[in-house]
Amino acid sequence: MIVVLGLSHHSSPVELRERFAFAEARIPAVLQLMREEGLVDEAVILSTCNRVEIYASTSLDSTKAFAELKEFLVTCHDYRDPLTDELYTLNEPQSIHHLFKVACGLDSMVLGETEILGQLKKAYDIALQHRHTGPRLNKAFQRAFNVAKHVRTETSIQRGSISVGSVAVELAEKIFSSLDGRHVMVIGAGDTSEKTARALMSRGAKSIVVANRSIERAQALAAEFGGRAVNFDDWSGEFGNVDIVISSTAAPHHILNRTKLEPLMKLRKNRPLLLVDIAVPRDIDPEVNLMPNVYLYNIDDLQAIAEDYLKQRKEEIARCEAIIVDKAKPLLGHGNGPGAMGGVVPAPCSVIRGSGSNGSA
C-alpha cells in the first residue's frame, strides 16, 4: 500500500514548512532510519519550498502507519507545537492520484508549473540511488513521470505564461524571429522591470542598456546583466539599436509619445519595436501603438494575458484529473494489466489530526 504524509502550501504557512523541510544531504539518512525502524518498506522524501511529503510503501495498517510516520516526522524536526490540519495523510487511491497531480503541477502554487517535476525526479533519484525504493514506488513514480509527460502534451495545463515577465518574453517571441541578438533597454530600474529584463536575457537577448534617474542603481542593474548604464536624459539616443524597451519610471507624465518616437523609428529603419510599459502612471502614450511596427503593452495588458492563461489552465484541470484517474487504474489493480500492484483494495483516506485535508488544489 502506498501512502502519503506531508504538508504543503495548501495546508500550512511557510514558517511551518521551513521547520519541516529536509536538507537534501540529510534525506538518505532519514530514509534509512525510517526503514530501519520498520515504518516503511520503501520511501521517497520530497522537500521543496512549497511542500514536504513522504511517499511510502508500507505493510502496516494505514492508521498505525500514519500515526508512526507523523511521530517520526515531528521527532525528526524536534517540533513540539500542536498540529491541527497542517499535516495531511493519503491512502490509496488518493495517494497515487496525489503523486500524479504533484508531478503534473496540478498541486503547485503556480498551476501547471514544470519545476516540480524536476524536483520530484530528483527526490526519486536520491531514494533510488540509496536503494530505498522497490517495485511499488518504482512503478508509481515511473508512471507519474509518464503521466506528467502525457498531460503536458495532451492538455493545455502548462500552456502560456502566468507572470508579467514571462508574458513579456512570450510577446517578444511572437514578434521577433528569435530573441538571440536582441537589444533590451530598461528605463527606470524597478523590481518588475528587473524581473522582465532577467526573463528576456535568460531567453537569449544579447545586451541590455539601463537608464535610471539614479545612475548608481542603473550601473548596479547593468552590471548584473553585463550591460551598460546611461544617464536618464540620454535614453532616447540608444533607441536606434534597441528592439525591446521596458519602462517603469516614476514620472508623472508620458516620457515617450508619438512625436518623440516617429523620428526615432526612422533611425531604427522601421524594425519592429516592443514597448513594455509597466509604470503607473504610464510612461508611454498609448497612441504610439497606432504607429507601424510598434507594439505597446502596459501592465494591465500583460496582467490580462496572464490571467487569461491562468483561466485556461484552470479549465484544463478536469481533463487532467480524468487522465490521472485513468492512468492510475493499472497501478491500483483495477484490471489485470502489467502495471497492477497486486490487487490492492482502495482504502479511504485516514486522518491523524483534524480533517486530514487533501493537499491538492
Partner: protein
C-alpha cells in the same frame, strides 16, 4: 490500353476532386480559425496533400495528352499557378509553425480552382498551340512565379492577421501557433524575390522567342501587363530592402498586387494575340 481509351475529361474530373478537397480544407480552416490555431494540426496538411496528388494527376494526364507542359489555355495556366502555390505550401508546411499557412492558402486555392473549372476557360483550338521547349519554359516559369507570388500573398494574410491580433492585444495572438511576424515578413519577402527572379527569367525567355520569330511585342496587351507586374514587384522589393518599408505595408502590397494579378491575368491573356496564335 486504359490510358488511350480513357475519358477525355478524366483530367478535369481529377482536378474537380482536388477542388472538392480544397473546399473541404477551406471549411476545416474556418474551424481552425475559430479554434484560434492553438494546436499543431496535420489534418489540413494531409487534406492539401491529397488535393495536391489529385491536382498533379490531373496536370500529368493533360500533359501526357498534349505531350508537353500543360500551359496552353486559361484553365491550364490557372491550375498551374494553384499547383505552384500548393506545392510550395507543402514544402513550407513541414515546419510546424508554418503549417497553418494552409488555412490561409486553401480559400485562395478553392477560388482559383472554381475559376479554372469554368468550361469557357478550357478551350482548345483558339488557344495557343505552343511549340518548342522555349515557349513551354517561358510559360511554366511565369506561372511558377505567380504561384510564388500567391503563396507570398498567403503569408502576407497570415502576417496581417497576427499583426492585428498583437496590436490589439488579443489573446489569440499568444495562443496561436503562428510563427513570429518578423519571420512571416521574411518568408513573404523571399517568396516575392523568388517569384520576381522566375518572372524575370520567364520574360527574358519570352522576349527572346518573340525576337527570334520577329513578332511585335508592344502591340500585345499581355506584354505591358507583364512588364507592369514586373515593375510593381521590383518596386515592392526595393521599397522593402532599400527604404525599410514596414511589414504591414509590404504585406498589404503583396496581397494587393497578387489580387491585381489574379483579376487581370485572364483578361490580358484573352486579349493577347501573342498568346492566341
Amino acid at each position: 490500353m486504359w490510358f488511350t481509351n480513357r475519358d477525355p475529361n478524366l483530367d478535369r474530373h481529377f482536378f474537380l476532386l482536388a477542388v472538392v478537397l480544397y473546399g473541404i480544407s477551406t471549411i476545416y480552416s474556418v474551424f481552425l480559425w475559430r479554434k484560434g490555431f492553438r494546436q499543431d494540426n496535420w489534418f489540413n496538411y494531409f487534406l492539401l496533400l491529397g488535393a495536391f496528388a489529385l491536382h498533379t494527376t490531373a496536370m500529368a494526364l493533360r500533359g501526357f495528352d498534349l505531350k508537353h507542359c500543360p500551359v496552353n489555355n486559361l484553365y491550364e495556366a490557372t491550375t498551374f499557378i494553384a499547383w505552384g502555390i500548393v506545392a510550395a505550401y507543402l514544402a513550407f508546411g513541414l515546419w510546424s509553425r508554418l503549417r497553418f499557412l494552409g488555412a490561409f492558402a486553401s480559400p485562395v486555392l478553392l477560388g482559383m480552382g472554381i475559376f479554372a473549372l469554368m468550361p469557357e476557360l478550357d478551350k482548345h483550338g483558339e488557344t495557343p498551340q505552343f511549340t518548342g521547349g522555349g515557349t513551354s519554359l517561358h510559360a511554366s516559369l511565369a506561372l511558377l512565379a505567380y504561384g510564388a507570388f500567391g503563396l507570398a500573398a498567403v503569408a502576407g494574410l497570415m502576417f496581417l492577421s497576427q499583426e492585428h491580433n498583437l496590436k490589439f492585444h488579443k489573446l489569440r495572438a499568444m495562443l496561436s501557433l503562428f510563427p513570429p511576424i518578423q519571420k512571416l515578413e521574411v518568408i513573404a519577402g523571399r517568396l516575392v524575390l523568388t517569384g520576381f527572379i522566375l518572372l524575370t527569367v520567364s520574360l527574358a525567355v519570352g522576349g527572346h522567342i518573340a525576337h527570334e520569330e520577329n513578332k511585335p511585342l508592344f502591340n500585345d496587351p499581355k506584354v505591358p501587363w507583364a512588364l507592369l507586374l514586373w515593375a510593381i514587384y521590383l518596386a515592392l522589393l526595393v521599397s522593402r530592402w532599400r527604404f525599410a518599408q514596414s511589414g504591414r505595408r509590404f504585406a498589404i502590397g503583396v496581397i494587393a498586387v497578387f489580387t491585381f494579378l489574379v483579376l487581370t491575368f485572364w483578361g490580358t491573356t484573352l486579349l493577347s494575340p501573342l498568346h492566341h496564335q
